[in-house]
């Protein structure tokens, strides 16, 4: 079966090389190779889920440097997720990259980027993991800075700094594990780690949360997401937000849950709190963004928070001995991981189509796109409904499971868990409400109403391959929403290997949790909603009798002819929220009025408002300033005077002479 893996990897490698050497016109069609590669690897991922762990290969270069690749159910699940998104994004890229400069390089980096993500989740030892991890970071850096604009370079710098801070913690935690266990292989470490003192385990856990959390984008380590996602080309943002940040989740699961095993209760509580804070603040900041891709990036922070709420609940329940419930919570977390990959991928692809045809990322310049880009609009709507967790799309199922598992906290012995877990549920409910507000804004402002700019007016529907890429994801949103039972069966081996228990559902396409006698059937909800809809239509027809339809202009308040400037703007739409959460946003407003004749004739009024980027200003700015001031002091060593440098050499020589002899 590993031959399928090799076939898939070869397809990706060929897919990486061909764009570099082929002629210009055929370059786009090279994306067919990653598409087929994704299919083969999806099969391999599914295979891994249903077999015992497979040793794929180990290449020993020196006794220390050994590349070990191993697949188990957890890697299988992540391979499956990566493959699904890669499949549709590759199809989308055929059309999307047509107008791109440097197509060949793009195709090359695209395939290598995906390969490196597969390598990360298949790594069997420390060295392999770190090399794959760094390859992924470096390649994604090149993709972030792909359009070679100054803004992208800045975003790339922030991304590079943040990701390397994270990697530093990861390297530290691996070195600690190596020092105290003496192994580099994850499975050896897993057996040896049981004898470690608790203090060491705690350090490893904290480092894992910080290191992998940076990649996942937990608050306050999220700052690179809203910079890097908008800067990258949209097919790459879809991959980065959909699956690359999930490798952070994979790392947390692999180290904090799989390798370290069940820890003290406060580990789970910590993850819960981080998840709650990330989800609430993520969506609050998303609401204030008018750049459609920045908004989606903040939304990723929110969804990572929701995933961590599920994982945290699972850890809390496991340390309270409730393994069955812990499995349900882990199912919720993994389900949301899968779902977020799909709907966030879909939303980024949709945003990419919009940006591609309107040439602006600012929502205030869009509007009326539903008439010009109907397919994109429909698929974007499906993505929005899913992310808002509305019924019969996939987000609904996973968030329902997350709610349930957070409420299981009551069943745990410890009082802390009893208090914190339901509060996580409250945070999730709050997040859900704000998410709806957020996506009403995105969809309403960008797709409805009248075009707000010439760009929006001249927008065109995107090419068939782009629509196909989005259609596949939209379909999957529906499928995973209506058939949750089969989906859960698919990845229950991963849950089993993470928590030691399995979530057995009823098997009749109803999510049934026997512990609290509560069940959910999305299919039934779908049928019921459709029935109610048709019943309503029929009822209106029967009771209301024959009715006449007349067409007229919209009411324009008596002012002749409506203009786009009279529309509700994104800023105005979110104003109530900005007022309610004044304490968090700390908004600053600026009104400038210029008169032709003061105070009677007003020439123009300029209104601008901005919110305080809290973490940038109160956390990163001071740290950056501190480092900068140290660097400024070190600069005195570099006076530029030749004699001084020679003096350093002389001093060093003399010191060596004195101390070494």
């Amino acid at each position: 079966m590993t031959s399928i893996l090799y076939l898939g990897i070869m397809l990706f490698f060929v897919g990486a090389v061909i764009p570099l050497i082929s002629v210009r016109k055929t370059k786009n069609y090279a994306y067919i190779l990653p598409t087929t590669g994704a299919v083969t690897l999806a099969i391999f991922g599914a295979y891994l889920l249903f077999t015992p762990p497979v040793n794929i290969s180990s290449i020993s270069i020196t006794p220390v440097l050994e590349f070990v690749f191993r697949g188990d159910a957890i890697s299988g699940f992540f391979i499956f997720v990566i493959s699904i998104l890669t499949f549709s994004v590759s199809i989308y890229s055929i059309g999307y990259t047509k107008s791109l400069a440097n197509k060949g390089v793009m195709g090359f980096l695209f395939s290598i980027f995906i390969l490196s993500m597969y390598a990360v989740v298949l790594s069997g030892n420390i060295i392999t993991f770190l090399i794959s991890w760094e390859t992924m970071s470096v390649v994604s850096y090149f993709l972030v800075t792909f359009d070679r604009e100054e803004k992208s370079a800045r975003a790339g710098l922030i991304y590079a700094v943040m990701t390397h801070v994270g990697t530093a913690f990861i390297i530290a935690l691996f070195l600690i594990l190596y020092k105290y266990t003496g192994y580099t292989d994850f499975s050896d470490i897993k057996t040896a780690v049981k004898d470690l003192p608790d203090a060491i385990k705690t350090v490893v856990f904290v480092f894992a949360v910080i290191g992998f959390g940076t990649k996942a984008g937990i608050i306050p380590l999220h700052t690179w997401l809203p910079e890097a996602h908008p800067a990258a080309p949209s097919n790459i943002s879809a991959l980065m937000s959909g699956v690359m940040i999930k490798t952070g989740i994979y790392g947390i699961l692999r180290i904090a849950v799989d390798v370290l095993g069940i820890g003290p209760e406060w580990w789970g509580i910590a993850i819960l709190v981080i998840g709650a804070v990330s989800s609430v603040l993520g969506i609050l900041y998303a609401l204030m963004e008018h750049d459609i891709k920045r908004l989606l990036a903040y939304c990723s922070v929110e969804n990572i928070g929701i995933i961590l709420l599920g994982i945290g609940a699972s850890m809390v329940l496991a340390s309270n001995g409730l393994y069955k419930l812990s499995a349900i919570a882990m199912t919720a977390g993994l389900y949301h991981t899968l779902n977020h990959a799909i709907f966030k991928g879909l939303l980024f692809l949709g945003a990419g189509s919009v940006v591609h045809s309107t040439h602006t990322k600012n929502m205030e310049d869009m509007g009326g796109l539903i008439k010009l880009m109907p397919y994109t609009a429909i698929f974007f709507l499906i993505g929005s409904i899913s992310i808002c967790a509305l019924p019969f799309f996939n987000g609904f199922v996973s968030e329902w499971l997350t709610y349930q598992s957070l409420l299981f906290g009551f069943k745990s012995v410890s009082v802390t868990a009893k208090v914190v877990a339901p509060m996580g549920g409250a945070a999730l409910a709050f997040t859900g409400a704000l998410a709806i507000a957020c996506f009403v804004k995105v969809f309403g402002i960008s797709f409805l109403g009248m075009p707000r700019s010439d760009h929006a007016e001249s927008a065109k529907e995107s090419s068939p391959s782009m629509i196909a890429g989005m259609a596949i994801l939209a379909l999957l949103c529906l499928v995973f929403g209506i058939f949750p039972d089969s989906t859960i069966k698919l990845f229950s081996p991963a849950v089993l290997s993470l928590t030691g228990a399995e979530y057995m559902s009823s098997g009749k396409n109803i999510l049934y949790i026997s512990e609290i006698a509560s069940g959910l059937s999305p299919l039934a909800i779908l049928v019921a909603m459709l029935a109610i809809f048709f019943a309503a239509v029929v009822l209106i027809r029967v009771v209301g009798g024959k009715r006449k339809i007349t067409y007229g202009d919209s009411w324009d308040c008596g002012i002749p002819s409506l203009t786009p400037r009279m529309q509700y703007t994104a800023t105005a739409f979110t104003k109530p929220i900005r007022i309610i959460f004044k304490k968090i946003y700390r908004p600053r407003q600026d009104v400038k009025i210029s008169y032709t004749l003061k105070p009677l004739l007003v020439k123009s009024i300029k209104y601008s408002s901005e919110i305080t980027p809290f973490f940038d200003r109160y956390f990163y700015k001071p740290v950056a300033n501190f480092i900068h001031s140290i660097a400024g002091k070190v600069k005195y060593l570099q006076s530029g005077a030749l004699h001084l440098y020679l003096g350093y050499i002389l001093a060093t020589l003399i010191l060596l002479l004195v101390f070494m002899s």
């Binding site: 006076s639 530029g640 005077a641 003399i654 002479l657 002899s661």
Partner: protein
């Protein structure tokens, strides 16, 4: 054997001359006399090699002695004096430190070297004095480079350093294989020629060879 030990005294004696010619550089005011000190230093070096060559009868040492004499003793000094003549004015060395202070520091350098190395006989049969002196000469050369303002004195300091290092290598191993020796000498020659051309060019363009002006190049 007795003969050989006598020769060792001669070698120690010559190397003291090498050290003195380096120390005296601190007090010299005119560039021409600095070059003369370098000539003296190089000649002593090649004589030292020549004595050892006679004693051991090693052909490659004869060649080394000859090459040292030809390049360091004749070619490089000739070239340097030509540059000094071309520069016409300002033939003084303009050090940062006063003569007495730089002499004192040179003395301290020599003391440090002498106290930090143990007494004894090297593998080659030389006494450790030769090694000590060679390191001291290299350090003094570096010190000269630090305290002098002019580009040409930098070159001189570098040449003294190279002589010191040559002596160090020689005292430890009887010198390197001839092909490497040749390479180093050729490098030196080329280096000095290039530096010389640069110095003349710098002077032509900036009407100064003061290295302080280079500080403005810092980013």
């Amino acid at each position: 054997m007795k003969n050989w030990i006598d020769l060792l005294y001669v070698i120690d004696f010559i190397s003291v001359g090498i050290l003195l010619s380096a120390v005296v550089l601190n007090t010299l005011k005119r560039l021409e006399s600095c070059i003369k000190a370098y000539i003296f230093n190089s000649w002593l070096l090649s004589i030292l090699v020549f004595f050892v060559a006679i004693k051991t009868g090693n052909l490659h040492l004869y060649i080394a002695a000859f090459l040292t004499l030809a390049t360091k003793g004749i070619l490089i000094p000739m070239f340097l004096s030509k540059i000094v003549r071309q520069m016409k004015v300002t033939r003084t060395v303009e050090p940062y430190l006063s003569n007495s202070l730089s002499l004192t520091i040179s003395g301290i350098l020599v003391t440090i070297v002498y106290t930090s190395l143990r007494e004894g006989i090297l593998v080659t049969g030389f006494s450790v004095h030769v090694l000590k002196i060679s390191i001291a000469v290299a350090l003094i050369g570096l010190f000269i480079m630090i305290t002098r303002r002019k580009a040409i004195t930098q070159v001189l300091g570098l040449l003294f350093m190279e002589n010191g290092l040559f002596l160090a290598g020689f005292s430890l191993t009887f010198g390197m294989p001839i092909i490497i020796e040749l390479g180093i000498l050729f490098d030196m020659l080329m280096g000095v020629i290039i530096l010389g051309v640069f110095i003349v060019q710098i002077r032509r363009n900036f009407s100064s060879v003061d290295l302080d002006s280079l500080t403005t190049l810092k980013g």
